[in-house]
């Protein structure tokens, strides 16, 4: 292969350049005087961040950042910002200087720790030497999934991820408690105008009709291939939610709610976490520990299965099915929570519009 620059040094320089761009975006955000500008800058920031994460060998994180930061977060921010004032008045100097000095002090404090930090890209640095390296070495034997990030996320640290998924569900419940909205889908949304882009244009409706099935399939593809390459339940869930949000933007939230009623979406969010946890309990019933996927299948049954071609000859069907199972739960929980949150904000917007018109 052709190389223009010596590879290891070039990628560090490229990463540093992209990081400079990110810092510039933060500066622009500091100076921005309009909420819409801030939201767009945040979206650009997330997309650039995804690019930077790609350079930093973190494709899984890049994937998540691109779909969450530039996609779903931006939509939720726009939904919340639509009916508030756009202009940000400048702050009084008296209220600016004290926090500014505090932040500067924080910056200097962090900079003082610089001498104790490992060199950028140092392969022998403490974070990369011990547990991270152990995961890399043992994953083929213990788990069998080529993607170590998925192996750590779903299997080694499966209990931790169960907690994270529950936090997402809890946040969704929090939004619903704050913004209300009953289960009765006749009540919340009457006619949504604000959160629809160019209603009636055949260009957008044709594009949406063409793309939404493909995006849905892609979400399932990302879920199924999480153990081979970048991807997994979190990314798949956000992508599926993005497809549903696109549907709501083009055809109206009411149409989406008709297809996937509020009650169904909320139940699915809880079902996802329940499914995750119940896989842990199945392992207990089979004599293993909570979320110990090796105990999911009895050895006799597993011996009868065709050899999984992952990881040199070892049988890892228990791990494979366990990871796929909990990732499906994560996908269901994330997709439903994000959709429920979007429903809540979209319902709010149309109701406050009515109040304004009345």
């Amino acid at each position: 292969m052709t190389r223009l620059l010596a590879a290891p040094e070039a990628e560090l320089v490229f990463a540093a350049l992209l990081l400079t761009l990110l810092a510039g975006l933060v500066l622009a955000l500091l100076a921005a005087r309009s909420v819409l500008t801030c939201i767009l800058l945040m979206s650009v920031f997330s997309l650039t961040m995804a690019l930077w994460l790609m350079v930093m060998d973190a494709p899984d994180v890049a994937f998540t950042e691109a779909s969450v930061g530039a996609g779903v977060s931006t939509m939720i921010l726009l939904g919340a910002a639509l009916s508030s004032t756009d202009v940000i008045p400048s702050v009084r100097p008296g209220r600016f200087w004290f926090p500014a000095v505090a932040c500067l002090a924080a910056f200097i404090g962090m900079a003082l720790a610089l001498s104790d930090l490992p060199v950028f890209g140092d392969p022998g640095s403490p974070p990369s030497s011990y547990v991270g390296r152990l995961y890399l070495e043992h994953t083929p034997h213990d788990i069998g999934a080529p993607n170590v990030v998925t192996a750590v996320l779903a299997s080694y640290r499966g209990f931790d991820t169960l907690g994270e998924t529950s936090v997402i569900l809890a946040a969704g419940v929090g939004v619903l408690l704050l913004l209300g909205g009953s289960l009765n889908s006749r009540d919340p949304v009457s006619e949504d105008v604000s959160l629809r882009i160019s209603a009636g244009s055949p260009v957008l409706s044709v594009a949406a009709r063409l793309l939404i099935p493909i995006i849905c399939l892609y979400a399932f593809y990302v879920l199924a291939h999480g153990e081979f390459g970048a991807g997994g339940g979190f990314q798949a869930g956000v992508i599926l939610a993005a497809a549903l949000i696109l549907h709501a933007l083009v055809f109206g939230v009411r149409e989406t709610m008709r297809a996937l009623p509020v009650g169904v979406v909320r139940s699915c969010a809880a079902l996802g976490v329940l499914g995750y946890a119940s896989i842990g309990f199945i392992a207990i019933l089979h004599g293993g520990r909570f979320l110990d996927y090796d105990a999911l299948l009895s050895p006799v049954f597993e011996a009868g299965l065709p050899s999984s071609h992952l990881a040199g000859g070892h049988h890892h069907w228990g791990q494979r099915l366990g990871i796929l199972g909990i990732e499906t739960g994560v996908m269901l929980a994330v997709a439903s929570t994000m959709t429920a949150i979007f429903y809540a904000f979209a319902g709010r917007v149309s109701r406050s519009d009515e109040a304004g018109a009345a």
């Binding site: 292969m1 052709t2 223009l4 882009i197 160019s198 244009s201 260009v203 957008l204 594009a207 063409l210 793309l211």
Partner: protein
């Protein structure tokens, strides 16, 4: 031979970078939203296509090549819809385009 194809691929990518820069310059030089969308669409179409072509040449016959083609198709499907949504939103919210010769703005107003 393979080496030469990879070099041609890099040349395409460098050309794509040049087109992107030209598009960015156009966005800065053109007078209003609508003309700027035209400049930006150079990056959407020309630069993206050249970039994909360059990467295709560098990837050779591999699964990555199929994925690149799919990505290119996806860009070609979504970017006009996005540009249309943007232009339509600007037009719908009452931004009047500058028409005729921008050097003599009063003459050609319709």
């Amino acid at each position: 031979m393979l080496e030469a194809i990879a070099w041609i691929g890099s040349a395409f990518i460098i050309a794509a970078v040049g087109l992107s820069i030209a598009g960015a310059v156009g966005v800065l030089r053109f007078p209003d939203v609508y003309t700027r969308i035209h400049a930006a669409s150079i990056t959407d179409t020309g630069a993206a296509s050249l970039m994909t072509l360059g990467m295709l040449l560098m990837a050779g016959l591999s699964p990555a090549a199929i994925k690149l083609c799919i990505v290119w198709l996806f860009i070609m499907l979504t970017s006009p819809a996005a540009a249309h949504a943007l232009a339509g939103a600007a037009f719908g919210s009452g931004h009047r385009p500058i028409l005729g010769d921008p050097r003599r703005p009063s003459e050609d107003e319709t």
